[in-house]
């Protein structure tokens, strides 16, 4: 959750990283850094609030609306608060062929929530996503940067239990 009382700002390491990213592009083309910076912001805050977007707009000297338009176009950016672990579950054809829908049903039951919801303890948010380019290793879901592949009911149980610990 974003703390609304402290102003939005990158940590010093992330700010340095942001400056390094902006410098990758030709002069005047700093808007190219928008997606990398949104990823960086989401990494820090967990989701992308309008305040965060305004801050990113400021860093890139672009209009806030240009950030809103972009952030809402791409599905990886969470525009609402999410749980600690966001499970992004592939729902596309090849994963379905491998029994992805059954495993998803099990996952929902295990967490006690439906797609788009967050567990009451704030630990897990469940999202359905389209193809994650891991079809041969399906069913698949992703939590942050990590891919969990060849999922089965028991494997899902293990993962959830492991993640519930922290």
């Amino acid at each position: 959750m974003t703390d609304t009382t402290t102003p939005i700002t990158f940590t010093p390491e992330r700010l340095a990283k942001a400056q390094e990213i902006i410098a990758r592009y030709p002069a005047g083309k700093q808007k190219s850094a928008l997606l990398p910076l949104l990823h960086l912001a989401q990494e820090q805050y967990g989701w992308v609030s309008s305040d965060v977007m305004d801050y990113v707009a400021g860093l890139l000297s672009i209009l806030p609306i240009e950030v809103y338009e972009v952030a809402s176009f791409y599905t990886m950016f969470h525009l609402d608060p999410v749980g600690k672990h966001v499970i992004e579950y592939c729902r596309t054809g090849p994963c379905c062929l491998m029994g992805g829908e059954d495993v998803y049903g099990h996952l929902k039951q295990k967490l006690g929530i439906d797609t788009g919801e967050t567990t009451p303890d704030g630990k897990f948010t469940l999202k359905e996503v389209e193809c994650l380019a891991a079809c041969g290793w399906g069913p698949v879901f992703q939590i942050r940067e990590k891919y969990y592949m060849n999922l089965t009911n028991s494997k899902v149980d293990e993962i959830i239990e492991e993640l519930s610990k922290d």
Binding site: S50, L63, P64, I65, E66, Y68, E69, F73
Partner: protein, 363 residues
């Protein structure tokens, strides 16, 4: 004289030869021939740079690319952004696949449209109505739920009805090109894409009102004119004032002695060449604010012309007949009309029948 004339490209459009300067688009060339020939345009807006190519309403068939390379183009091309080549041959209304595709485009634009024309301020001057009337099917094949959006207040002057929007992006280009700071844009994507300010925020800018004039449908309408009248009950008059912000050249819309609306002046394609400021549009609503030039020229075919409502069309008998005909066609037990009958054709037929009946009854 021969030497001073620029080199011209000769193209054939629906069988008519026309010479235009290089760089002209097919749409611009067709518009030179007149409204009867020009392909419909829902997103293209000549005064705004970068518009066009999105709605696909103006797709035409190029049966010969140029004199040098007379092969046909494999796909239909958007006439608004395709530039002519010397010797190009274009088919618009003379090509069945173009007309069939256009029927499809009308259908696509209408499946999620609320069809709330009876309560829409744009009705009567709506490009989607015109487009559907000219090119659409009589019936719909859409049985799914229509898309809806959460309502957003975008300020005291402009009313946003997102369900009516066809995502032409014209208002976005307008804000980009004639205001200094755009605060609205297109959010989300796919069929959930919507015009929005994202955070509840008034669009506050001296020229923001122009988005109303460029909107081809009733998605962006004038809050100060909302539900005040129907366009066909009002009389447009050209007027100007000495404005420090804009040209001050406007159209005043009268109902009786009252100015109920001020808009920029539109050309025959519904395009504004001189954008006006919000003060002129929203605050100068007294005749004494303006110097009147005279009545606005309106196409004979426009609903704004009172003549449009001919005596025979008002007869209840005719209305009943139309209702009867229409009602049968939405009866689900009957097969859909798939032969591509258009509303215009049906109404032509019905008009002819009604005229005959009326003659017979009167004699």
């Amino acid at each position: 004289m021969e030497n001073t004339a620029p080199q011209l490209f000769k193209i054939t459009f629906d069988g008519i030869e026309i010479e235009v300067p290089p760089g002209t688009t097919i749409m611009q060339a067709a518009r030179q021939l007149g409204p009867h020939y020009a392909p419909p345009a829902m997103c293209y807006y000549e005064p705004l740079k970068g518009t066009g190519g999105k709605c696909r309403a103006c797709l035409v068939k190029v049966t010969a690319g140029s004199a040098k390379d007379p092969r046909p183009m494999p796909k239909l091309v958007p006439s608004c952004i395709t530039t002519v080549q010397d010797g190009m041959v274009v088919e618009n209304t003379t090509n069945e696949s173009v007309l069939e595709t256009r029927r499809g485009i009308v259908e696509f634009l209408l499946i999620n449209h609320p069809l709330d024309c009876p309560v829409c301020d744009q009705a009567g001057e709506c490009h989607l109505q015109d487009f559907a009337f000219e090119h659409g099917r009589v019936t719909t094949r859409y049985e799914e739920e229509r898309r809806t959006f959460e309502k957003h207040d975008i300020g005291p002057y402009v009313q946003l009805h997102m369900t009516r929007c066809i995502l032409c992006y014209r208002c976005v280009f307008t804000a980009d090109q004639i205001t200094n700071k755009r605060v609205h844009g297109v959010m989300n994507r796919g069929d959930h894409a919507e015009i929005s300010t994202y955070i509840e925020k008034a669009i506050d800018n001296d020229f923001s009102g122009n988005v109303i004039d460029v909107c081809p449908v009733g998605a962006l309408t004038d809050k100060t004119y909302r539900f005040k009248s129907r366009v066909w009950f009002s009389k447009p008059v050209e007027a100007h004032c000495d404005c420090e912000k804009c040209s001050g050249n406007v159209t005043l819309w009268y109902r009786g002695d009252e100015v109920i609306r001020v808009t920029a002046r539109k050309n025959e394609w519904g395009e504004v060449k001189e954008f006006i400021c919000n003060t002129c549009r929203f605050e100068r609503k007294k005749t004494s604010d303006w110097t009147i030039e005279g009545p606005t020229k309106i196409s004979r075919h426009s609903v704004i012309m009172a003549n449009k409502y001919r005596a025979d069309l008002k007869k209840p008998a005719f209305g009943l007949k139309v209702a009867e005909a229409q009602y049968k066609q939405i009866d689900d037990s009957r097969p859909y009309i798939t032969d591509g009958t258009t509303i215009r054709e049906l109404s032509k037929e019905n008009n002819a029948k009604a005229n005959q009946r009326s003659l017979a009854e009167n004699n």
